[in-house]
Symmetry: C2
Subunit: 161 residues, 2 copies
């Protein structure tokens, strides 16, 4: 029996506010010493200038990209052939608001339609998709759930918040 290996994947990000609603965000893939300059903005309806995609567009692309990457990576490892794969996603949330106060957000349902364009049997295609789901960092995070921890810079220094 082969030994289990364990590895860490750590991303760090630093965001600063610019423009009306734009955020400039430097992301560092610490594990690989790679870095990326990203940004979010909002459309005019939400007080922004549309200079970058909104955060939820980045999340939608991240979820699709994550499962597609694992499908392609694990296709080789499992020797299950794929063709020109396509993934369509729908991410649905709701907000609830009393009067003009801040609203409260909640997920309603996320779904993915996966076309592997594969000559493999349906069973092998399912096996590949199952492996990709299990190996997709974003899907496993959504599935298990995680409470993001916060610290706030206060008059007494950094405090849990």
């Amino acid at each position: 029996m082969s030994e289990e290996k364990r590895f860490d994947v750590v991303f760090k990000g630093a965001g600063t506010a610019s423009g009306k609603m734009r955020n400039d965000i430097s992301v560092e893939f610490s594990t690989m010493e790679e870095s990326f300059e990203l940004a979010t903005d909002e459309g005019a309806f939400h007080g922004g200038e549309g200079s970058a995609p909104p955060p939820l567009a980045l999340l939608t692309a991240a979820l699709i990209g994550c499962i597609m990457t694992q499908i392609r990576a694990f296709s080789k490892r499992l020797d299950i052939p794929i063709g020109e794969i396509k993934v369509n996603a729908t991410l649905h949330w709701e907000g609830r608001q009393n009067g003009l106060g801040p609203y409260v957000a909640a997920p309603v349902g996320f779904s993915l339609d996966v076309d592997l364009d594969s000559s493999a049997s349906d069973g092998d295609q399912r096996r590949l998709l199952d492996a990709a789901k299990a190996g997709c960092f974003i899907q496993q995070t959504l599935k298990r759930g995680i409470e993001v921890s916060h610290r706030l810079k206060t008059s007494n220094g950094w405090q849990d918040a």
Copy 2:
């Protein structure tokens, strides 16, 4: 007492594979009829060409952008002033792998350090951060958890998978 309003937020995405590991992803903010062209890729270590950020970099930016956007939006609604806000994030996952098979992913911990650069009291700053956390679609999704549903295109058409 004011009446509760409810609204939907729906994003759709369509991903196609290109390059070695690159994914081109069209994202549509259905609710607003806005669309965005995004992409993910991997570095050479993971078999990619580094032509776009990896999916987890998009997620990191999405999480930071989401909380910053809500802080700025709710600052006005709650009349709690903020300055040049800065948010630093660390997203930590682990993978576990037996031999050369597909690995299994899991979140370890996500944390955000929030500097509101505000003249408001510590209590008001906490109240603003609490509202932003409750209104951040991504944080609420992570907190509650959600099982992504899948359909696979099989020899018998689209099937749940």
